[in-house]
Amino acid sequence: MSLFRRRPSFRGGYWFAQPRDAGAEPIADISPTAPLAVPLAEGSGPAASPVVEAGQAVAPGQLIAHSQDQDGLPAHAPVAGNVVEIGRVDTANACDVPAIVIAPDPVRRADPQSVGPPLSDRPDPDEVIERLSAAGVINTVGDEPLGQQLARARQQPIQHVIVNSIESQPVLVAQRRQLAEQPTNVLDAAEMIGHAIGARRLWVTVSDAAKDLIRSLQRCCGGRPTRLAALTPKYPQESPVILVHTLLGLAMPPGRNALDAGVLVLDVGTALAVGRAVRGGQPHTHRVLTVGGDAAERPGCYRVAVGTSLADVCEHVGLRGPLRRVVVGGLMTGLAVPDLNTVVTRTTSAVLFLSQSWRGRPIACVRCGACVEHCPVGLAPASLLSAFELDQADASDLYPEACIECGVCSLVCPSHLPLLLAAQRLKARAGVRRPVEATSP
């Protein structure tokens, strides 16, 4: 049953103008032409160890590296091809990680391999966790293997599962597009996870500006346990802390994440990967990305194999104008990469090719209060910056660990101060000194 509740919002944040036709183009495939470098380590886990050798032919979905460790994830070949070498590669988050380089062979026919038979409609929780780990499904929210998150959740029960399609940063549309193309699969996956971990409520969140999407979802949701929630697409609505606050009214203590409060947040791409792993036994080898930016000639949503280099993506979408900055992720939170050899991973959400870059010369804080007014979690970023610059020993009364690193403070600062950087550094420092466990109220 779909249920529209009041449309709650949150204080602060920033409204980006979203073009009305955003995400109207269907998802296109980028079939790799250049060699893929499948990274063997993602997130914080240890690297997987290769089980293939250079020169060996691989089939799509074939296990190419397995993880000895429970925290690690296996890797699978996204396409048919030949292993060129066991080398190293850069991802946006980490430099010089081990990788298996596969030269795709589009001519050779090889049957896709699965990681196991399809599970039943109401699978056992242990089966689901095992399957997600075997398929290498990683949750973009939290950058952690989903199987691990679910295993942890068995100790602390999860009440809510939220599949989020809201992307309130400019340009990003991939989640909304995936939901629009496969609404039933998303709902199936949400219900399957919800059943496996015994969640009380299932939610699909959509931007309340996407009227067509809401209408079609209302039809799909009829008679199903998943609830549809339309929320304001004000940035950073998709941040788990804010999402949980606006949707469920839960205010997380600083430094806690949604999982600590018994809420599992997934993006649409991850939910679909779960569905494919459980229903079809398919490993997590592809990711749907928003490819955009003012330098991209054919921006849109693309389904990209893990390990594809940004140069390959760039060649596919074409360039118009000079390329000055390439951002992996959104314009607000993404990372600028130094070169196009960086590869797409299972957690990449977007690749943006920009022809301009902006760097304001900072002047002193003019105490305008814009950062305070716009901070969605109620911090005083200007005070965090001065605490950081003064190397203040104890900044705990400013709660740097509450920062969700959305970057709105830096965006609205008329003095062009690096407020986000200061908050991130203070947060990292606070994390060292004061572990999350010690902050419980």
């Binding site: 990788a99 205010a251 607000m332 993404g334 305008c368 305070v372 007014e373």
Partner: protein
């Protein structure tokens, strides 16, 4: 691994730029904010030019030049050229000029501009670090240093606050002044020949006389408000358009409000400040008592809530409150000075407290304490309290 075999698009640079998120142009810049303030300060300046003639341009020009030169000299001495600092000083000099009366000796705007920048701004460390509004500080400094030039005698006609008369706007000579026997309004009072400017009591002073219970205003009756509103004060069209004596930019409430609305629309000024100052000033004027002197006997009594006075079918009380809003320095403080971010509390909640206290304090000082510059004194006083307000109005962090 290498991608040597790949065709890399021709627009590809050898190396990409890296930098921290967000990868977007900043939404707003302080330099733009300063320029917008300068542009908007030109509206009351234009009104001042009309009402006070070219003398107004002279005063504002001198204070701006003094401010910019002071900033430049200090910049040379400290070997710190700063274009933003100079623009900012020019803005402060301009706003400072708006607070000064047009008929002043040349050294007063010069001293005010130099003090505003050297003492009020640079001594504290420049943009972002000063404690009091530099322009208000410069204005108060010359008020204290040259009281005989800037303080009109409270009980006479206000010797040095002339304004141009009918037919002589913009081009008249402020030195050829006349004192009206009974000034009833800019348009209504007949102008003696040979005169180009009026010397008339400023409405602000008449409001002060009311609070003091001055005998002529009570007119022997117990309705001082009626006497003031009907006879003593000029028509309030004059105070709204700025056809009264005063600082160059203080008079024209319409120009100031237009400037403030544009600044708010462009997010360079918080509405909380303007609404708070004007609202609190109106409330204070509505509540604070005026003195009613009964005939013949001593001190008289206080009339609280003057806003309720409605003698002989004339809404004298509400009109009295409107006069408080439109005359004197209150409007200039509310629209152009109080919103200065460095000397403001940092949270919107703190700014509301600041603005409310500023508006009420201005009216209080005007009625019972300093007869001129009440708004600037109140602004400096509230600037002093900003750290206290900030400490009490920190935002609440989510989940704490």
């Amino acid at each position: 691994m290498s991608h040597a075999n790949q065709t890399v698009p021709s627009q590809m640079p050898a190396r990409l730029e890296v930098g921290a998120a967000p990868h977007l142009a900043p939404a707003i810049s302080y330099t733009e904010s300063i320029w917008t303030y300068i542009a908007m300060a030109c509206l009351p300046l234009g009104a001042g030019l009309v009402v006070y003639g070219l003398a107004a341009a002279r005063v504002v020009g001198l204070s701006m030049v003094a401010a910019v030169l002071t900033q430049r000299l200090i910049g040379v001495a400290k070997q710190q050229p700063g274009r933003t600092e100079i623009t900012h000083s020019a803005m402060m000099g301009l706003v400072l000029g708006l607070t000064l009366p047009a008929a002043t000796p040349w050294y007063i705007p010069v001293a005010a501009g130099a003090i505003a920048v050297a003492v009020g701004k640079v001594a504290f460390g420049g943009i972002g670090h000063y404690f009091w509004h530099p322009a208000a500080l410069g204005r108060i400094a010359v008020q204290v240093l040259f009281p005989e030039k800037l303080s009109p005698d409270l009980w006479t006609q206000g010797a040095n606050w002339p304004f141009l008369a009918r037919g002589h706007l913009l081009t008249g000579d402020l030195a050829r002044t006349c004192v009206a026997d009974h000034y009833v309004g800019w348009r209504e009072t007949p102008l003696p020949s040979g005169c180009e400017a009026w010397l008339a009591p400023r409405p602000e002073q008449i409001l002060r006389w009311l609070a003091d219970g001055r005998a002529e205003l009570t007119g022997g009756a117990d309705r001082p408000l009626l006497a003031a509103v009907r006879d003593a004060l000029p028509p309030w069209r004059d105070t709204v358009l700025g056809l009264t004596g005063g600082g160059v930019g203080e008079g024209c409430a319409v120009a100031l409000l237009v400037a403030a609305i544009y600044l708010m629309y462009r997010h360079h000024l918080r509405w909380q400040i303007v609404v708070g100052v004007l609202g609190a000033a109106a409330a204070a004027a509505a509540i604070l008592p005026i003195r009613v002197a009964p005939e013949g006997s001593g001190d008289g009594s206080w009339l609280w809530l003057p806003v309720l006075a409605w003698p002989e079918g004339l809404p004298a009380g509400p009109i009295y409150v409107l006069y408080h809003l439109t005359c004197g320095d209150l409007m200039l403080v509310a629209c152009l000075l109080a919103g200065e971010t460095v000397t403001n509390p940092i949270t919107p909640r703190g700014q509301i407290i600041f603005a409310l206290a500023l508006g009420a304090l201005t009216v209080f000082l005007r009625m019972y304490a300093v007869p001129v510059c009440a708004g600037y004194w109140a602004l400096l006083a509230m600037n002093t309290l900003v750290p206290l307000i900030d400490r009490r109005t920190q935002p609440r962090v989510l989940g704490t």
